[in-house]
């Protein structure tokens, strides 16, 4: 990235130390450590079954690793649950889309505003003035995100009826609505055509650039990854085999071997 960035890459915001995760006898992740710096775009790549999604699920608290720790802003988090991580300021999207299918696009994104909603159900039932005020703020923010993602014309459509590419966009929108400082993107471009991929890249970079949101993404398309990320960590068989800038990773022999295969 040649041009000057509004948000300079800072100190580590997310640190993963010595994570090991196994399902029964199958080791998904073995003693893996890496960090994510504030305001950077960090990619996690690796062949199928390398443990990338499992890694995100450990960070987010869906899986509980047998060993290792996750620290957020230098603070080690003892009992990670998705809820606690959301409150710390970490949001995510899912590999196989986890949208609220029967709700409209706007409502899906509004759910992302949950942590900015402080009123309880009684206040909502009686529509007290502060509920209306809060709802207006949340709706305005959601509308902003909708126009940012250029999906205004589908905002009242139930998400389940949308094509895959748009659903991925909505999921990004929902993650953005949380105003989190870190967003984990699990294969945001899987199953998209070239044009949709380019769009998605543009949004990811724009978010990172304009809001300074730290992005951690998993992606298969090497070209895309090398273009948009600041640093890349490469996993293979649940172990880190490379970590550094795209150029460093590209020239790393272990990475080349993992991707192209080696003669034994």
């Amino acid at each position: 990235m040649a041009q000057e960035r509004k948000f300079k890459i800072g100190k580590p915001i997310l640190e993963v130390k010595n994570i090991s995760l196994s399902f029964g006898g199958v080791k998904a992740i073995t003693d893996t450590s890496f960090d994510v710096l504030e305001h950077e775009v960090r990619a996690i790549i690796g062949p199928n079954g390398a443990g990338k999604s499992s890694m995100l699920n450990c960070i987010n608290g869906i899986y509980k690793p047998q060993q290792g720790t996750v620290s957020f802003r230098g603070q080690q988090i003892p009992n990670i649950t998705p809820n606690i991580m959301a409150q710390m300021g970490l949001s995510r999207t899912f590999q196989n889309l986890a949208l609220f299918k029967r709700m409209s696009v706007l409502d899906n994104i509004l759910v992302g505003r949950k942590l900015h909603t402080k009123t309880n159900f009684l206040e909502v039932a009686f529509q007290l003035p502060k509920v209306k005020k809060e709802e207006k703020i949340n709706r305005d923010r959601s509308e902003e995100i909708i126009s940012f993602l250029e999906i205004e014309d589908i905002k009242d459509t139930p998400v389940g009826k949308l094509p895959y590419g748009l659903q991925k966009k909505v999921e990004l929108g929902r993650a953005l609505a949380t105003d989190s400082s870190v967003i984990l993107l699990d294969e945001p471009m899987a199953g998209m055509n070239v044009e949709e991929k380019r769009d998605m890249c543009r949004f990811i970079l724009k978010v990172n650039d304009e809001l300074g949101t730290t992005m951690v993404l998993i992606e298969h398309d090497m070209g895309v990854v090398m273009d948009i990320s600041d640093r890349v960590v490469v996993l293979d068989y649940g172990k880190v085999i490379g970590d550094g800038t795209p150029d460093e990773v590209r020239s790393n022999q272990k990475v080349i071997d993992a991707y192209l295969g080696v003669e034994h």
Binding site: N83, M103, V111, A125
Partner: protein, 357 residues
Amino acid sequence: MMKPVFMTYTKKDLINLAVCMVLSVLVIPSFITTEYWYTSILIPWLCLALATIGQQIVMGYTGQLALGAAGFMAAGAFAMFNLILRVPDLGFVGSLIVSGLIAAAFGILFGLPSLKVRGIYLMVATLASQFFIIWMIDKFGWFKNYDSSGIITAQDIVILGKPFTTPLAMYFVCLAVTTVLTLLAMNMARGSTGRNWMAVRDMDIAAESMGVSLLRTKVQAFAISAFYCGVAGALFAFCYLKSLEPVAFDIKLSFKILFMCILGGLGTINGAFIGAAFILLFPVLLNAIGNNVFHGAIDATIISSIEQVIFGGLMIIFMIYEPLGMAKLWENIKQKWKTKFPTMNIKNLTSSIGKKS
């Protein structure tokens, strides 16, 4: 989507509400004079619609398969009886709210399994509420004030010193309570509370990742649902049955409310009213057909069997072709009309038919 003009309501909602209010407050009382309509149709319709809203909240909105609405209704009804008997200072409205809260406490207790089990297993777990509450009332004489006859007469309804004993007066009591609670339910369903419920229903792991607490949301839905059922049960006993007996709140009533919920349309408030009206009126209609078309040639037992057959068939048909029930069917018909006759002003037409939403 239309912009809300008042709170969360669009102009169309306000027109619908006004039409419903005019219909129910002015038109019905001045045109319907037979007591039968109030005591056997309108009052139970309002009570059961209220209970169905309760079932909607937990099943239609939060997606928790629960089957025990009648148990919570029994809790509300007997709480009401005891509150009026033992704490007369509370007054009718106060007692109604407190009996709802007592039912809500049961709702929290029996909603806790929803954190661990789901689907059909949760349905079986919530059946416990049905049987436990009825058993408790039968077992401990205190709840029935040691009445040995088995059927207790409900006390007269007195609000602010005025008795409400005529069918029309009781209809207005039910109407007032149902209207207020329906509006509150709609506010919740359309606001952030409802969004949390639906998020848990559609994808719980994503909801949790957005900061929605599964524990709080599910338990809250069960509590609110049981509150609605409790109030509905109290009204059911005091305005419709005018007596209190645990058998009136058996599993059959729970199933009836479940059917109302599904046929009306899961996840809609107006569906509760449509479903309740259908299930209440359908047997009446069949009887009328039996008497007037066939002049009693068909035995009454056969008619009630036919009723069961048709209900069963309809349930299956709806589950396959329109899982979102009659409310959705109604929406579709309106949509078709709109596309077929774009020049016609459909708005006037639909609001004159008036839908309770």
